[in-house]
Amino acid sequence: MATATYNYKRVYVWEKPVRIFHWVTVLSTTILIITGFIIADPPAINSNLEATNSYWFGKVRAVHFVTAYILIANLIFRIYWAFAGNRFAKWDNFIPYTKKGIKNILYVLKVDIFLMKDKEHKLSDISIGHNYLAAFSYFIMTLFFFLQVATGLALIADNSSWFLPKMFHFIVPLFGGDTIVRYIHHILTWLFMAFIVVHVYLVLYHDYVEARGEASAMLSGFKFIRSERVDETEEDIIEKTTDQMWEGENDESK
């Protein structure tokens, strides 16, 4: 029976900070897109209330601004984690400057995007963390995030007394006025929505075709890889983990 299927090993890929970053991004981006579209084209819910007694649009804007600051903090944290995190979170995953990276991009384009046959079946072609093409797309999106943050802060700079948005005031004359800055801010929102569609689809695609926990990995942190790719034998691992990780627990039980 051994030949009928493969053995897989569970690998810790996405550390908790990465997963928290991911879901904070999901939540804040969703809130920002919804409130952003309301701000761009508010529904005219005209009531009999006097303006003094109503403030819903002000609140929508407040939510947009507060969420934006959460997203900014989140992005800054992720940049830190690109240097402090594990090998799958490191910055060099995201910029394909090595031969290996470029080769992997070509492989992913061939096999996963254009759905051509993978004749060689090399295990090393299957990425454990991000594949280089996906990671590079996240890098590009990060640049767009920065542009979105910069245009957003530039738009609020005149209404703010804090130094952070004020630092971005130069963006307005750089792009030639508030109108065009607001425009870039608006159009980038659509770009993020298109990215979300592609991203979610490709995660589901990988999970469907490879069946090694691509989607659930962002919840649990684990992915499954063929056991041939891990050096140690099962006995080694169990021995090691018992020794190191469960040491404290064992001490307590004694």
Binding site: M1, A4, P42, G58, Y205
Partner: protein, 374 residues
């Protein structure tokens, strides 16, 4: 008519000569100080400066423009605001308002420029065409570029009065047939104070000149060269309809009940949120009104390229280069739609192209399922 000794007058002397009282003068100083954003303790300093400083000669050049800026200027809020400058202007040179014409006018300008070389304020109204050697705007047989360069050479500072001389204005709007440019595209070595607007508020120019008279410097400018005192705030932030904006009460058409009630004009394309000007608190025609107060959304007339950012009464602007009907949202919907369609097509293609692999995985899984130990 023209007495040379008037040139040596102080502002105060010229005001008294015109028949105003000391009380009028002090009211004017107080009013202008407030507009200039000065503390009330500075009023004395402004008054003192006007009493002792010689009047600054002003040369006013008109190029590609509609003279609306001059019209706005002579309807200045406080009569003294206009008089104080207009008197000097009409004595020296402004081809619209001065009594002299033809050769006499040109002579008067040359004389004044020579006498006050390095010591006069140049006001420019209108953009400067550059295409075909600038033939699209000529005065007395000379092109606008030539005239501008000549009068700018001896100027202390240049005030670009109106959106045309500040940004290019309507003649620089797409497709800009005459190659019009603003003043700062031609003159690089003089301080340029931009006073955009279509037309601009006249007190801004008076404020700039008074600031120079009082402090000996041009006022603080923002990154785009506009005096901060007057262009530091968005129209939106000083708009009296702002509470309706925050409350989410909007007029959706001009003939609606909401429009009559004075609700926010945001959904009618008001450019207040992206426009920097002092309309909200200075208003027009002796403080009678400004566009929003009269029920029409701000069109952003003091913004760069505002003519190209139409239509004025709609929230979204056209995307340049995508045709007149395309708004950002339309393009966005196409992009997201394409992503969804692409994903759907890819999903189907995956099931076809990888059918063997998927089938094999399924079979192997089924074998495993049958071999589960009870």
């Amino acid at each position: 008519m023209i007495k040379t000794n008037k040139k040596e007058e102080t502002y105060y002397e010229s005001i008294l000569r015109k028949g105003y009282t000391r009380r009028d003068f002090m009211k004017f100083v107080t009013y202008m100080s407030a507009f200039m954003g000065l503390q009330s303790s500075m009023i004395g300093q402004v008054a003192k400066a006007l009493e002792t400083k010689k009047r600054l000669p002003v040369i006013w050049e008109h190029f590609q423009e509609c003279t609306g800026c001059s019209e706005s200027f002579i309807r200045s809020d406080h009569p003294l605001a206009a008089d104080i400058i207009l008197e000097t202007v009409s004595l020296d040179y402004t081809d619209t308002l001065m009594a002299a014409s033809g050769h006499n006018a040109e002579e008067a300008k040359q004389k004044s420029m020579k006498e006050n070389y390095g010591n006069y304020i140049l006001v420019v109204e209108g953009a400067i065409p550059t295409k075909d050697d600038g033939v699209y705007c000529t005065i007395a047989g000379r092109t606008a570029i030539e005239i501008l360069k000549e009068s700018a050479a001896g100027a202390l500072a240049i005030i670009t009065f109106g959106s045309c001389s500040a940004w290019g204005g309507i003649q620089a709007a797409s497709p800009n047939p005459t190659g019009s440019v603003p003043v700062d595209a031609i003159i690089k070595d003089k301080p340029i104070i931009k006073v955009p607007g279509c037309p601009p508020i006249s007190e801004v120019m008076t404020g700039v000149i008074l600031h120079y008279a009082t402090f000996g410097t041009i006022p603080e400018l923002d990154a785009e060269g506009r005096p901060k005192q007057f262009y530091g705030k968005r129209v939106h932030d000083s708009c009296y309809r702002r509470p309706y904006f925050d409350a989410g009460l909007y007029a959706e058409s001009f003939d609606s009940d909401e429009a009559k009630k004075g609700y926010c004009l945001y959904k009618l394309g008001c450019r207040g949120p992206v426009t920097y000007n002092a309309c909200g608190f200075m208003e027009w025609n002796n403080g009678v009104s400004f566009p929003i107060k009269s029920g029409y959304p701000c069109i952003g007339c003091s913004s760069n390229e505002f003519w190209d950012n139409g239509p004025f009464t709609e929230r979204l602007e056209n995307v340049p280069g995508f045709g007149i009907e395309n708004t950002a949202d339309k393009i966005g919907k196409i992009v997201v739609g394409a992503a969804v369609a692409g994903a759907a097509v890819h999903a189907v293609a995956t099931n076809v192209a990888k059918r063997k692999e998927l089938k094999r995985n399924e079979c192997l899984g089924e074998v495993n399922e049958k071999n589960i130990k009870e």
